[in-house]
């Protein structure tokens, strides 16, 4: 089924999708979508999180089956029953979560997908290596065939993904949010490369970052709630036009206007050392200080110790060395429950498996940290009435969309799950709140709401440590921005001085000379 590179497969001049519809339980992901992809040009697929972009491309790549609609290639209808069908026709996709086997080498990963290398009892790794190096040279993408994938950095893994798709003979290259894990400089680099590659290929690139869309694409298609609302040349649209089309209305995200209250330090880390899952020091001598009445942003490429830092601060990960103080008292080794009781809130990165118990009802989740307090229990027995009232009130105030508070929390949409988590944490009025990627995968309307809530917490005298990948969000909301790199804080900038360029350099480890 797998053919040699472009030679045996007819060149793709045009790929047309028509009437594509796809549903998941409770969600209409794609609604009668029509799209044109042409060779030699870069098409940007734009939309808010949850608008259906990834789903649509997954259908094109053969991972999902559409419920209705047709795909025609050079005018003839085709059907991709699984990813190998799509590969055979020349469709290659670089997913947001890389599709690589971590404990195998790069060459083995490529060999996995090349059927012609599978000679009954012998695996032709030498051929895979040769093909890799040849493709890498042709497109100027350096690669190490014998490196294990888990040893590579995120940027290197992405390069491997690109080469892998090219080795499989991709003529249509789909990239799903390729810059989400890159520094601004790496992003610029990728955009240049893609521009050069676009001459021989058709490139579709999914993004919600409008400045990148403007820089790279020739045409843009905008999705909103699963439907295409605009398709046309990029040059005619300004980023503001694109944003308006994406959301269907004017959205002004809340902005941090006021001056920091300059309160006392409530959450401090001193020379913190924390081990990651693989035993290495993910946090390596980190100093940080969060004050009452401020939002402290933490910028950095994901994988530089943010997750381990957040877990150490909240007590979910042991500290190897150094100290943490909360409200002036040392809490380096106190347990999670004690920190929760003292007023530390946490909005975790993994909202589906950590922030909620998916099988529990919304009501139970809203009291997940307080069920044993006097308010909700007496002598070990739960006060179900009090729980129900509490849930009803929070549902109203935070506008949580669910059939009832008895519904399983796991069945809610991502944005609503985030609202449940937010509602629970904020209702406890935490003195310090650690929020990790709170608006990832959430639509602009919910983002607006979450930002407003964070600012309100700040106004009420609480401190918020905002860990985020979105520079705009950080610059918008923070009083100060710290940049984390390889487990250490490189610098803390007041928000007035935090520009995209400066932050970008710091995120890449370059301390400007001042």
């Amino acid at each position: 089924m797998h053919n040699d590179a472009a030679a045996a497969v007819e060149p793709i001049l045009e790929l047309r999708l028509a009437g594509i519809t796809k549903r998941f339980p409770g969600i209409l992901a794609c609604d009668d979508i029509a799209l044109d992809i042409r060779r030699g040009e870069v098409l940007a697929l734009v939309g808010e999180n949850g608008a259906g972009k990834s789903t649509l491309m997954n259908i094109l790549a053969g991972m999902y089956q559409p419920d209705a609609g047709t795909i025609t290639l050079n005018g003839r209808p085709v059907r991709f029953r699984d990813p190998s069908d799509a590969h055979a026709r020349g469709i290659g996709m670089v997913h947001q979560d890389f599709m690589l086997v971590p404990n195998m080498t790069v060459a083995e990963n490529v060999a996995l997908g090349l059927r012609r290398l599978h000679r009954c009892l012998r695996l032709d790794l030498a051929e895979a290596r040769r093909l890799l190096l040849e493709t890498a040279a042709r497109h100027e993408l350096p690669v190490h065939p014998d490196a294990y994938v888990w040893q590579l950095s995120v940027g290197e893994q992405q390069r491997v993904e690109l080469i892998k798709t090219l080795c499989f003979g991709a003529q249509v290259l789909i990239l799903d949010e390729p810059t989400s894990a890159l520094t601004p400089q790496e992003t610029d680099d990728l955009i240049d490369r893609l521009k050069r590659m676009s001459a021989q290929l058709a490139i579709v690139f999914i993004s919600h970052k409008l400045n990148e869309v403007k820089a790279l694409s020739d045409r843009v298609a905008i999705l909103r709630r699963g439907a295409v609302v605009f398709q046309g040349p990029t040059t005619e649209q300004s980023p503001a036009d694109l944003a308006a089309l994406m959301t269907g209305r004017e959205v002004v995200l809340p902005h941090n206007e006021g001056r920091a209250q300059g309160g006392a330090a409530i959450l401090e880390a001193r020379q913190l050392q924390v081990r990651g899952d693989r035993g290495h020091l993910a946090v390596d001598g980190l100093d940080l200080s969060l004050h009452a009445g401020e939002i402290l942003g933490l910028a950095g490429v994901s994988g530089n110790g943010q997750r381990e830092l957040a877990e150490a601060l909240t007590g979910l990960r042991p500290v190897a060395a150094g100290g943490i103080r909360f409200l002036g008292r040392d809490c380096t080794h106190t347990g999670v429950a004690a920190r929760i009781a003292a007023g530390l809130g946490y909005i975790p990165e993994d909202r589906h498996h950590e922030g909620i118990v998916p099988a529990f009802s919304v009501q139970e989740n809203l009291a997940l940290k307080d069920f044993a307090t006097r308010r909700f229990s007496v002598g070990g027995l739960l006060r179900l009435r009090a729980l129900a009232d509490h849930a009803a009130g929070l549902r109203r105030h935070f506008d949580i969309r669910c059939a009832s508070t008895a519904a399983a929390a796991g069945s809610l949409s991502g944005g609503n799950i985030q609202k449940v988590i937010l509602a629970r944490e904020l209702a406890r009025e935490p003195r310090a709140l650690v929020a990790v990627y709170p608006t990832r995968g959430v639509d602009l309307g919910a983002q607006e709401f979450i930002h407003a809530q964070l600012l309100a917490r700040r106004a009420a005298g609480g401190g918020v440590l905002l860990i985020s990948e979105e520079l705009e969000e950080l610059m918008n909301l923070s009083d100060r921005i710290a940049v984390i790199y390889k487990g250490r804080i490189l610098k803390v900038l007041p928000s007035a001085e935090a520009t995209r360029e400066r932050l970008g350099l710091l995120m890449a480890g370059v301390i400007d000379g001042e």
Binding site: T21, L28, V357, L368
Partner: protein, 372 residues
């Protein structure tokens, strides 16, 4: 359309699973030369022929209820206890030793102490596996299965040696069994002329207690949270390790209690094969009862029926006793398969669309709509 479809879908899955299980059982029966129809008929109607048969169903149901309640607690807390068989044996040993050692005490003291000893014996035995899982991450299915084998050997050793009835040694028959328990440690008979005893009432009371524990107390909330999503439970400050051990000990305690109840209610002495597979059957009952006391009690009665009926077919039609194991295995496979279909929203969605397409072959695209 939503709810009625969901109910229909659920019923279809359950029916398919039941038919598959019954069919597989029928095939197995054919392989041993028995007629499936005749066997099923005997199993389902035989016990009802007289009062004794009906009472026997309930007699079998009592240990099943108790074991299944413990299994439900453990499964819901995220730890899979396959060791009920061994925990029952340890409970019986502890109960026997206690009853014989404290012979002189009056009934109102001796009986509860005996039962408590049984619970403690089972709980401690299970606690070993619980600690191994919580502290060292040892797979609890493997450790509890191993502990079953170890318990069986210990039981045989003690019954043949230190705990053997001195009377056996005198008469020289050497049957591995303990001395008869003092009358004070016997559970009273509920219905004269049958073997049904007050253990039934105890089981029913405990069923209610387990319901309250799991859904109405903070303790139960912690257990269920740790079982449903350990990561989130840890995030919320719940000690998952402590929940696992607690659940395992409770689960073992119920199994040990089941053993003690069988001892004091039915046999009145420790004998070989006393547990007769209740430990494994209890797992099936728990699954069948959807891990909820309200489902477990009727499921236990149903299984009591199966067990009594299977005994009858063994005597009348010569169907080997192991067939009940075959049936249990088939039922487990059917239940866990069906469970995934029932819980899986994606499978349900696919079925719904297939159903819609069958009912409206003319219209191509389904109507766009919102939530299900």
């Amino acid at each position: 359309m939503g709810n009625s479809f969901r109910i229909g879908y659920g019923a279809a899955v359950v029916t398919a699973a039941t038919l598959a299980a019954a069919g597989a059982g029928a095939l197995a029966l054919l392989a041993v030369g028995a007629s499936p129809l005749a066997t099923y008929a005997t199993i389902f109607t035989g016990p009802f022929k007289d009062l004794f048969g009906v009472s026997e169903i309930l007699v079998r149901a009592v240990p099943l209820i108790l074991v299944a309640l413990g299994i439900a607690i453990s499964f819901r807390s995220g730890i899979i206890n396959i060791g009920a068989e061994g925990q029952m044996l340890m409970g019986i040993l502890a109960a026997t030793a206690t009853a014989l050692a404290l012979k002189g005490l009056p009934g109102w003291a001796l009986l509860p102490l005996t039962l408590l000893a049984g619970a403690a014996g089972g709980g401690l035995w299970a606690g070993i596996a619980g600690l191994l899982r919580a502290r060292l991450g040892v797979n609890e299915i493997l450790s509890t299965v191993m502990l079953n084998y170890i318990a069986a050997q210990l039981y045989t050793f003690l019954l043949r040696g230190p705990m053997i009835d001195p009377g056996e040694l005198e008469t020289g028959s050497g049957t591995p069994q303990s001395m008869r328990l003092p009358r004070a440690a016997w559970l009273s008979r509920l219905v004269p002329g049958t073997r049904l005893h007050t253990g039934l009432l105890l089981a029913l009371v405990l069923a209610v207690a387990v319901y309250v524990l799991l859904w109405h107390t903070t303790w139960g909330f912690r257990l269920r949270a740790a079982g449903a999503e350990a990561k989130a439970a840890r995030y919320a400050g719940i000690s998952v390790e402590r929940s696992l051990v607690t659940a395992m000990v409770l689960s073992g305690a119920f199994a040990g209690l089941a053993g003690a109840v069988e001892l004091t209610g039915v046999h009145h002495r420790a004998i070989e094969n006393i547990s007769s597979g209740y430990g494994f059957a209890g797992i099936v009952v728990a699954l069948f009862g959807a891990l909820h006391p309200a489902g477990i009690v009727p499921a236990a009665v149903f299984f009591g029926l199966l067990l009594v009926g299977a005994d009858m077919t063994q005597r009348t039609a010569g169907v080997p006793a192991n067939m009940i194991l075959v049936l249990q295995g088939v039922i487990i496979l059917a239940i866990v398969s069906a469970k995934m279909y029932l819980n899986n929203a994606y499978a349900q969605e696919r079925a719904r669309r297939m159903w819609a397409r069958l009912r409206r072959p003319s219209s191509a695209a389904p109507r766009p709509g919102g939530l299900s």
